[in-house]
Amino acid sequence: MAANEYVLELNGISKGFPGVQALDSVSIKVRPGSVHALMGENGAGKSTLMKCLFGIYMPDEGDIVIDGEKLVFANARDALNHGISMIHQELLPILYRSVMENLWLGRFPLRSFGPLKLVNHRKMLADTKAVFEELKMDIDPNTWLVNLSVSKVQLIEIAKAVSRKSRIIIMDEPTSSLTENEVEHLFEIIRNLKSQGIAIIYISHKMEEILKIGDEVSIMRDGKLVGTYPAKELTTDLIISRMVGRDMSNRFPHRDNVPGEVVLRVENFSSPEPKSFQNVSFDLRRGEVLGVSGLVGAQRTELMEAVFGLRPVVSGTVILHDKVRRFRTATEAIREKVALLTEDRRSTGIFPILSVYDNILAANWRNYIRRFLLDLKRGETAVAKSIEALRIKTPSAHTLMQNLSGGNQQKAIFSRWLLLDPEILILDEPTRGIDVGAKYEIYSIIADLAKRGKSIIMISSELPEILGMSDRIMVMCEGRMTGILDGKKAGQEEIMRLSTQFM
């Protein structure tokens, strides 16, 4: 291993799909014991490159060289056997099985019992404990995965990679659903892995993280490598300009909205679950962006879903336009022109097997009825306008939603709600898993809506986004509201202090 300067060399990898050259002669070299960050907008080719490395795609051209040896992987198992592991952004754990069974799935330690080979549970437990000790993880090997947080499940994936004696671990957006503390723990584990000579390929959209944990950064754009740079020489602005190929001096659009009178007042909202939101009151003004900050688990989503009528409350009132109005179902909220863009696009946002057209009109059919039947032509016009207005990249309105990138799916769901012409728009993590360019577009939409007098509640776990977009910031911690700050004067430290007030 020491003989080679690089543990992994990708030389001139190209991969085309009908109609698109996804990778165009990309070369990347990764040193052992380093964190090599891979950045680029969605569609830049990061995932395709990693799928080529992991044996999921066969590259059309180019070599994969590991420890000086040229290799061809026919499938993911091949790659795993050569010491490459991948931790996917969307984890696929077996929820109703134990931690150790998930860890050793497909390679359970066996014990001969006459002619039978049975699973050796004792050895499995011992091996699991050994791996966890090495990584300083504190997880009960016998608990079901359903009981664990996302971050713990992710740590188990890392443990799995380590237990396979992997020399290269690919992490795809590993922090997208982690809290600040969990990210810190992950970084500790990554440093630990580095010290053992393991190379990490780290895919992320989060600049601050990359600059903190990365040693080298490769930036991709439109299927090509822009370059590989030492992380020390980079800044957020430099990374962005190289990613998008143009200067982006400002990550947030200029806003000149003027908040007006109060349109929505929520008073003493309490969940029936004692650990969820309790006694929360806030108000929202016309033409205002109210940022909602807090750590994961602060019950922000739960609170807003309750306001929208998706969750029950035991006490509290909602005053909408000076009338007491509490929603019991989403249908009631929508009728009053309140919209909710949910946090988890895949589970509660998109209809993957339906067309973009059906996805955009899903909440709006009532407005497209003429003499009892749907007026599909008028729908076509509206959808075409939406696709143009939000610049949704799709071959046609009748392409299936599942074939669009995350950012474009998000924009499609945005247009679903915009078609309702809502007065109040609740956005839950509106830019999660979306690339920089699309983020800016979504910020612009939000700014424009506010300027037109619409009221916006924006839950976000990204502090720069909260600070860059909010007129006022509501901070929550463990189900309680800990403060409301002026968006122009608030600072990161103050928000963090309020977010951890009860911890």
């Binding site: 009532r366 039947l373 749907l374």
Partner: protein
């Protein structure tokens, strides 16, 4: 993009032929089946036989139009066959000839034709309402709910039919005006005629097509099948939609039951036994996904045609009923194996 499904490149003509074949595989198989049988047995393609097959199809397709939308919502209805049996007996019991000696209700007054048929439809609708309410509000899985109501429906129809001292004899001697609905036809020329029952089925087809493609209910059915949680957030009243889908299905079974009684000229408590499986098979052959959200009215019709034509062809070719079952089973699995290619993503 990277994960878009792609077919092998190469000759564009070959590619579009292959694309068409994958998309319309079932229809192609159906046409080949009909033509091949016609070559071996020219009588198979006679107007008499073709019309006969269409008449058999008519009842089955109405049942499939009830089952199909339920499958679209990720559900299943095992009670379909028994509800057809129940409603067939309900209709038949009120439409026996006045002078028939073995009447189930000896003193029943003669009613206008449409009343008993409407009562049969309402009876089916009530079972559908029960199914839908249990599925939507008690959250009992559709498989379990309809398994229960399937057994209950059989119990109910047996109680209804089996009246001492008469016993559970078939309800026969049906009025001519009633049987004429199913067996009568508008003559066109020679042997070519359009049976009333085919016209009824065609009307139901149009109704269902419009319902699924041109109404909010239809769009909501697909949305629930594709992602029930997203549908809820989008303001779809999921519970009400589900209930309506089961009610609609029950009403269609009721219509099918009345028509079947008229076709046979009699009804027993065993009528419709396992027909729900045929309906599910037909839908699935026609490309309806049992995981919900995918399927068309045209597909459901194609699936039913496929099954009835195959049955008929095998009879014509003198294949034993045992072999017919074996072929039917193979077709069900093979059809889905081919159809699912549309959705498997290529590397």
């Amino acid at each position: 993009m990277a994960n878009a499904a792609t077919l092998d490149s190469g000759n564009p003509l070959l590619r579009s032929v292959r694309e068409f074949a994958t998309k319309r595989a079932i229809l192609l198989v159906l046409i080949v089946l009909v033509l091949l049988t016609g070559i071996f047995e020219p009588n198979f393609l006679s107007w008499d036989n073709l019309i006969n097959v269409l008449m058999i199809t008519s009842v089955y397709v109405i049942i499939a139009f009830g089952e199909g939308p339920i499958l679209l919502t990720k559900g299943v209805d095992l009670s379909a066959g028994r509800v057809v049996g129940l409603t067939a007996c309900v209709a038949a019991s009120m439409l026996q000839r006045a002078n028939y000696e073995d009447k189930i209700f000896p003193n029943f007054p003669a009613m206008p034709l449409l009343v008993p048929i409407a009562i049969a439809i309402v009876a089916g609708l009530v079972v559908g309402l029960v199914n839908g309410s249990i599925v939507a509000h008690l959250k009992v899985p559709p498989f379990i709910t309809t398994l229960g109501t399937m057994v209950i429906a059989y119990g109910v129809v047996s109680l209804y039919v089996d009246r001492p001292p008469r016993g559970a004899a078939p309800i026969g001697g049906l009025r001519d005006d009633f049987t004429n609905i199913a067996n009568g036809a508008i003559p066109i020329s020679g042997n070519l005629r359009i049976p009333f029952i085919v016209i009824i089925a065609a009307a139901v087809f149009v109704f269902m097509w419009v319902l699924l493609n041109r109404t909010r209910l239809g769009k909501n059915i697909y949305a629930i099948g594709a992602n029930p949680d997203a549908a809820e957030v989008s303001g779809v009243n999921v519970n009400r939609t589900l209930t309506v889908v089961y009610i609609l299905a029950g009403a269609l079974y009721g219509l099918a039951g009345a028509l079947q009684a008229a076709r046979q000229g009699s009804a027993t408590n065993n009528l419709g036994y396992t027909w729900e499986l045929d309906a599910i098979a037909a839908c699935v052959i026609g490309g309806v996904s049992t995981t919900g959200g995918i399927g068309t009215v045209g597909g459901m019709l194609t699936g039913v045609l496929m099954l009835t034509f195959m049955n008929n062809a095998l009879v014509f070719l003198n294949v034993s009923p045992y072999w017919q079952n074996i072929f039917k089973g193979i077709i069900i699995v093979a059809a889905v194996a081919v159809d699912i290619r549309k959705y498997i993503r290529k590397r």
